[in-house]
Structure formats: C-alpha cells, structure tokens
Symmetry: C2
Subunit: 237 residues, 2 copies
Amino acid sequence: MTARQDVQQADVPAICKSCEARQDGLCGAFNARQLAVLAKASSRHEVPAGTELPDDGTYSNLLSGVVKLTRNLSDGRQQIVGFHFAPDFLGRPFEAKKRIRAEALTNVALCSFPKAIIDRMANEMPELGRLLLKHTLNELDEARDWMAALGRKTASEKVASFLLMVARNTDPAHHPASPISFDLPLTRTDIADFLGLTIETVSRELSRLRSDGTIRIVNKRQISLASMAQLEERCGD
Amino acid sequence: MTARQDVQQADVPAICKSCEARQDGLCGAFNARQLAVLAKASSRHEVPAGTELPDDGTYSNLLSGVVKLTRNLSDGRQQIVGFHFAPDFLGRPFEAKKRIRAEALTNVALCSFPKAIIDRMANEMPELGRLLLKHTLNELDEARDWMAALGRKTASEKVASFLLMVARNTDPAHHPASPISFDLPLTRTDIADFLGLTIETVSRELSRLRSDGTIRIVNKRQISLASMAQLEERCGD
DNA sequence: GAGTCGCCTTGATCGAGATCAAGGTTTTGC
DNA sequence: GCAAAACCTTGATCTCGATCAAGGCGACTC
C-alpha cells in the first residue's frame, strides 16, 4: 500500500494525500489534468465526533469515520435514515425538499471540493455523472432495504441486521464464515433511532444475542462474531 | 392544453402522442432531433392492474396509473418501498443488488424506450444525466421520509401521512385549504404493506378519521377531504 | 477516592397494534 | 339474479416492544 501510494504520487498531482492514496470516493474517476484542478481547490478537514456537517454546498470524500443522517418529526422523535462510512462520497447535487441533518458519529476526516468545480466537471464528463447516479442508486437501495426492516422485521431481526451492516462496512471483503470483530460507532440511542426501537429494547436484544452465543460483547462498543453467517440466519431476509 | 398539444405536435416528431402532449417523464429534456430518434424506438404499452412489470432493461414514461415497488422478506412478509404515479419515469440505469418487484396497481399506460438509446443519449447530453440524477434524489428523499414514518410514527399518523401523499399525487397543485376527493388505488392490504401495519389497524384508523370528521369514505376506495391542512396536522411532521 | 455525569442493563408493568374471530359488503362469474 | 370469492369492518383478546423504575459501570473532575 505504501508502494501504491508512491506510484500515485508520482503519476498524478495530489488532491490530498489520503484521497489519492486510496482512490477514495470519486477520485478514481478523474484523469491527471482534472485531478490537478481538484487538488488546487480541495481542502482537508478533521471534524470531531458529534459535530453537525453543514450542507454548505460542497462535496466531500469521507476519508475516515462514520456520519449519520437524521430526519426529525415535529415533536422531536428522531429517525436515522442513513449512514456514510469511509470511503463514501458526501454531498447533494440539488436542493432537498425536506431537511436531513448530517452529523459525525466518530471523528471524521473529509476532503472537500467546491460544488461549482464538480458540477462543471460533471457537465463535460458523462462518466462522473454516471458515477454520481450510481452512488445515489446504491443509497436508494439501502434506504429501501431499511424500509423493509423498519416496517416488517421484529426487534431481534432489526438488531441482527444492523450488526451485520456494520460488520460488512467494517470489512467489505470479509469471508462470511470466519470470525470478525468491530467497533460500534454508535450509542444505544443512535442504534434505537436507526431501528425504530427504544434503547431498552436494543439493549435487551443485544443481551439475548450474547446469551445465544451469536455475539460477544467485549466493551459495550466492541462486538465480535464467530461468523457473519450466523447473524445472517437471524436477519429475516 | 389542447392548444399546447397542437403546438407540440407541429414542433417535434411524435414519440408517442401521450408522452409528447404532456412532456411526460423525461421527454421535456430532448431536442427535436433526439425526439425523432426516440420516436422510432419507442413503443406504447397498456398493462392491466396486477401485472408485474419485468425489469427488462427498458426505460418507460408512466403515462397513467400507479405502480408499486415491493421488497419481500424470506418468509413472505412484504414491504412496499415506493410508488410511481404518472408522469414518473421508470427504469434503473444499473443493476440492483437486491430484488425489488414492480407491479401495476391500476391499469397502466407506458411509453417504453430501449435502454441502449437512453444510455447513449445520456453520454452525449449532460442535461439528461442530471435529470436522471435529480429524479433518483427525489426518490431517495421520499424513501427517507417513509423511513421516518415507518420507524417513528404512530398508526394514525402513518395513515394520515399516506392519505396526504395520495392526495398530493392526485393533484400536485391543489390548494391545501380547499376540499379534495380522490381514489385510493390500493387495497387495504397494500396500504398495510406500505405502512408496516395490519389491514385491521388500517381499517380501524380510517374509521377513526371518518368519525373524527377528517375524511369521508365514499366508496371504500374513494376518499374526500374537507382540506389537506386538516390531515397535515395529524401527520406528526 | 468520593462525587457526578453519561451511558447501559435489567426488571416490572403497560399499552398500541397484532392476532383471532365473526360477519358485512362489493365484485365476479355463470 | 344468485352463488362464490374477494375484500373490508368491527369486536375480543393477546403479545411484543414501550414505558417506568432502579441500579451498575466507566470516565471525568476536584
């Protein structure tokens, strides 16, 4: 990986070192000239956990950390409607009708680009538009999966599905039959707000999965699984 | 409107008469030459209620009728994850990971185009790509609104929100304070599968809204409202 | 190291919505 | 027009997950 980073640095101008090294987010779609333009306009940010990410019209590659998207009802009830894990691409090309807040769940590193530059490039570069569309369609698929979970799964199926989602995002290439452990980047309140449950129910279902032997709870935030396949059986789909 | 239709027919070659007259779906984005190409490749279909719309790689303008999108869990539990009302644009540019079925709820009229033609045009026409992206982002916003409803609203808020959604799609320009009546294009089972409830609960909540005086139930499928504003108060958001 | 605060767990009880059950109404087919 | 089927409503009861309540466990502060 260090070798690859060196090659990248020799081949193309820097956007920001982390972006470039990992070809994060959209960066893989650009040629050397475009990367040079982006490099000048980009800026790197470190954002501490708990910060709201303002919708200031910029686009960003999420280099590390986890971001939650929330929708609130008028009386304060909250629903988490999505997560972004590194190396997702953040930002919205057009205005949203309803307000969705984005907040850093963990410390987050971003590489940001002004909207105008990306939009201009998208106009002269159909490949970029297709990539944005593909990203958005994936988000739509995920949202619909969670609609099915919210509407039709039991509490324990919801919790199992959630753990599986985090595990998959932690290590997308992980073999389903082998053990894995990972940190939950969320409080019980966040998990509840995502699954449409209360914190007590989340806690009880986690305890039940532990006494089942399906999961081990190391440290409140750290979970380890004998296998993802075992959880998949409890997901209902 | 008839006047406008005449102008359109004089200006540009026909895609199919209905598309053209209403500038449905994506047709408003094309110039005369492109419309001519599309016209040759397009075909009009009438699909009876209850038919599954196969994901055959074509794109379609939905000229009339309502389409539901469903996700099923392994044991048959069903969640409706979205609707398409005329004049939506149907079709998916890339492969979906999980299977979502599309089914006509009412009789449906479609104007279909081969995928290859649209994809080629999207490559040489950034405007079209942006339009597709915009459509997809709207779908994403809607999906997230329903996530919030599924996760955090009570049964009566869900039913009120649903009625409001149908009312708005029936007549998008309707004044919120004036009376409106519309047909529900769904059975109670479909409503329940959309709201994550049982048919009995849907039926009871509709009865309650009727005895409240918020709605009138004319004919099981036909609802009339004194005002949309009254329902909005019961939506929770 | 005592006290406070934030977060989590567990138990007891409650209630919204599910399930079970019966009957009514509309549609369909002959 | 009648019978059957599909769909809808309403009532009785049950259950899953919410709510209420108490206490545990770390992480800070002083």
